[in-house]
């Protein structure tokens, strides 16, 4: 077993445990914290896969900014409004579980019934598969500059839209 396998099997434990706890914990605050655990594990996995810059962005943006946003919005709500009785919901949804497990089984069978890489010998050596930040920046700013600019426009629209959405007056006046 090489180092990549050891990293994968060690990191997959916090990732999966975090994801399971996100789905099943009753307190949404715990869900947010377990989501941070899952995100940090994924960031470490990206680092191991040679995507160093993506890993840093994952930690900074997801485990930092997005989760702070979630926790802050949770703090805005009344605790009683947020904490609902979820146990009955989880128990009474056999059909949804059946649907989800059929999906999982089909896709897992599909993945393991065919190998996307012919064998271990076709895998590129580790040193060449590390994507440097310079290479990534060249790809981002020269080859994909149009998508990049469109994303900037999207972020502008989102920033304005979020402010105007959250300023909508409440009350049931229909």
């Amino acid at each position: 077993m090489d180092l990549a396998s050891v990293f994968f099997w060690i990191l997959s434990i916090p990732i999966l445990v975090g994801a399971i706890c996100v789905v099943f914990s009753k307190n949404p605050l715990f869900s947010a914290l377990f989501l941070v655990l899952s995100m940090v594990g994924l960031g470490a996995l990206y680092f191991q896969l040679g995507a160093h810059f993506i890993s840093a962005v994952q930690i900074a943006v997801y485990a930092g900014a997005v989760m702070v946003l979630f926790v802050m919005v949770l703090m805005l709500f009344d605790r009683k409004a947020v904490e609902s009785e979820e146990a009955a919901v989880i128990k009474n949804s056999q059909f949804k579980w059946l649907l989800v497990s059929v999906f999982l089984g089909l896709m897992l069978g599909l993945i393991f019934s065919q190998s996307f890489i012919a064998g271990p010998d076709t895998i590129l050596p580790e040193a060449t598969s590390v994507v440097s930040t310079k290479e990534l920046g060249n790809l981002l700013y020269f080859k994909n500059i149009l998508s990049f600019e469109i994303l900037g426009l999207l972020l502008l629209v989102i920033a304005v839209g979020v402010v105007s959405l959250s300023r909508i007056e409440g009350g049931s006046d229909d």
Binding site: L16, Y46, F53, I123, I158, V163, S166
Partner: protein, 108 residues
């Protein structure tokens, strides 16, 4: 014994399976949870699973373009979280709760 060792030897399929399990957990969370904030978190989980699959393919096939798409997905995911939380705030202001079984007017 060699079969077991070759199973533990990580290949692209392992990353795909991990991403798929993460995606399915997120999907299950979107289906069964009623809390809007937790539903948004599960959406983030699904997007992260897709990101993992992108990075794994990019690594194993030596094509760095996949990581550029991961950037785009991350940006869109952050924007989606912002809009979703703003919608959650306005739902809370209007109804006083964020349980999703309240909003079934479009069920038909």
């Amino acid at each position: 014994m060699t079969d077991l060792l070759s199973f533990f030897q990580v290949s692209l399929n392992h990353y795909l399976a991990l991403g798929l399990i993460l995606f399915t957990l997120g999907l299950a969370g979107v289906f069964i949870r009623k809390n809007l904030i937790v539903i948004l978190m599960c959406l983030e989980l699904m997007l992260n699973a897709v990101n993992l699959i992108f990075v794994a393919f990019s690594h194993y096939q030596g094509i760095p373009l996949g990581q550029v798409y991961v950037f785009f997905i991350m940006t869109v995911a952050a924007a989606e979280a912002g809009v979703g939380l703003a919608i959650a705030i306005s739902i809370y202001k209007r109804f006083g709760t964020i349980k999703m079984d309240l909003l079934t007017a479009l069920k038909g």
